[in-house]
């Protein structure tokens, strides 16, 4: 089973040179730590920054410079600042190439649920609905099962959904899966030491196994 950092590390391998990327809160934020230095990519923060830099040193902290998770950040070389309407114009207009975000549930046709649990205080969807409705390429980072052990990869989402038919790929602590255009999760890679049978038993939605499924490789 992968740690959160390993999930982030595996997702980082999906990143391509020249991409503009929006990273959600949680595991997705960690992805930034594993993007190879030789790749030129730009991280977008939906509160109005293109080119997120590393977290600041104590001396560099500026309360007027935060990311969408409200963390203090710095600006990378060549960054740009803009307002929230422009930021979502970028997102909605398809200019952001890759969105990586967390989820509570993903369905086998690519629906995602990650904003609301009935009966619990609803905090809001923030920018998630805009992001999932807009990006061409959406990768979900999440645990394969909930804390109570139930599969988060379902035939249909049971929670209120955030967006329909949008998730392209899922990286969990157990596996890398692609959402098939015809519905179903195509098992692409297993976490080291995790068997296809275990993944099958923990995937409530339709799992598609094609030939030998390789283990993930971490350099």
């Amino acid at each position: 089973m992968l740690t959160k950092d390993q999930i982030a590390q595996r997702i980082a391998k999906e990143v391509k040179n020249g991409q503009y990327i929006n990273l959600g809160i949680g595991i997705p934020t960690l992805v930034a730590n594993y993007i190879p230095n030789e790749l030129e990519v730009v991280l977008q923060s939906e509160n109005g920054l293109l080119g997120i830099g590393p977290f600041p040193t104590e001396d560099q902290i500026d309360p007027d410079l935060i990311n969408a998770g409200k963390q203090t950040v710095t600006m990378a070389k060549g960054s740009a600042l803009f307002n929230s309407a422009e930021s979502f114009a970028m997102i909605r207009g398809g200019h952001v190439h890759l969105t990586i975000l967390g989820a509570m549930e993903v369905s086998e046709n690519g629906d995602i649920a990650n904003w609301k649990i009935p009966g619990k205080m609803v905090k809001g969807m923030g920018g998630a609905m805009d992001l999932v409705a807009s990006a061409d390429n959406i990768i979900v980072a999440m645990q394969h099962c909930s804390r109570s052990g139930e599969s988060k990869l379902l035939p249909e989402c049971s929670l209120p959904i955030t967006g329909i038919r949008c998730v392209k790929k899922i990286v969990t602590d157990l596996a890398v899966l692609e959402v098939s255009e015809d519905g179903g999760f195509i098992l692409k890679e297993r976490a080291p030491g995790v068997s296809v049978e275990e993944i099958k038993s923990k995937t409530a939605g339709k799992l598609i196994v094609q030939g030998d499924v390789p283990e993930m490789i971490f350099e």
Partner: protein
């Protein structure tokens, strides 16, 4: 140039009545109109509807207005950082209208720009789409959203001039420029107020036409929610 200067926050918010619709700039606690919020706390008004991306924290920002029970309704995209907010909401003392952040930004922009409605893909197939018109363009589904306007919009900028021109700093810009345009009366508080002609016209983020009142604020606390540093 038309001089928009008022003395201070107290004068700027003096005529905001109960039950009015306000917009307040800011994302989290960044770029919020701290001085105007303090001045509103001194006013004996209630029943406010506030459009703001977030609702502050318990002891800062819009959280202070909530604690004083001045707010009837919040129109926001994310309201997670506030226990008093949660208490009032669960007790039915507060209404909340949750809107996808990009839709919120665009509805406010539309309000200022005279566009009564537009199509967006955000929320299609979700409960956000309930009761809304859905239409297909180029093979993709979109829903129709309406503009948002306010009686007063209250924004915070870094620099401003007496003609109402504003320059923001860092990510403190966020919702402020669109809100400035979407309020019937826009009140701008700035860290540094200069004479008209002192700002470079090419660097202005909000043209003065949108701003009706401006003053130089003081004692900015700029509280940080998630102080995160590099090792």
């Amino acid at each position: 140039m038309i001089n928009k200067t008022v003395k201070n926050a107290t004068e700027a918010v003096a005529d905001i009545p109960s039950n009015s619709m306000l917009m307040m700039g800011g994302f989290g606690l960044t770029g919020i109109p701290e001085n105007c919020i303090s001045a509103l706390l001194e006013r004996d008004i209630s029943g406010l509807t506030i459009v703001s991306n977030n609702a502050g924290v318990d002891d800062f920002g819009i959280g202070l207005l909530l604690k004083k029970r001045m707010v009837k309704k919040m129109i926001s995209s994310y309201v997670g950082e506030n226990a008093e907010f949660e208490r009032q909401l669960l007790n039915g003392e507060l209404e909340v209208d949750l809107i996808p952040q990009g839709t919120l930004a665009e509805r406010v922009r539309a309000g200022g720009a005279g566009i009564p409605a537009f199509f967006t893909p955000a929320g299609v197939g979700t409960e956000v789409a309930e009761g809304k018109e859905i239409r297909e363009f180029d093979g993709k589904m979109y829903l129709l959203e309406n503009w948002l306007k306010a009686d007063f919009s209250i924004v915070k900028a870094w620099k401003g001039d007496t003609a109402g021109n504003l320059i923001f700093k860092g990510t403190a810009r966020n919702f402020n420029p669109m809100m400035a345009a979407a309020g019937k009366i826009c009140i701008a508080e700035v860290e540094e107020l200069v004479e008209a002609g002192q700002l470079n016209p090419n660097e202005i983020h909000t043209p003065g036409i949108y701003v009706q009142r401006i003053f130089q604020g003081k004692n900015y606390e700029k509280r940080i929610e998630q102080r995160t540093v590099s090792k």
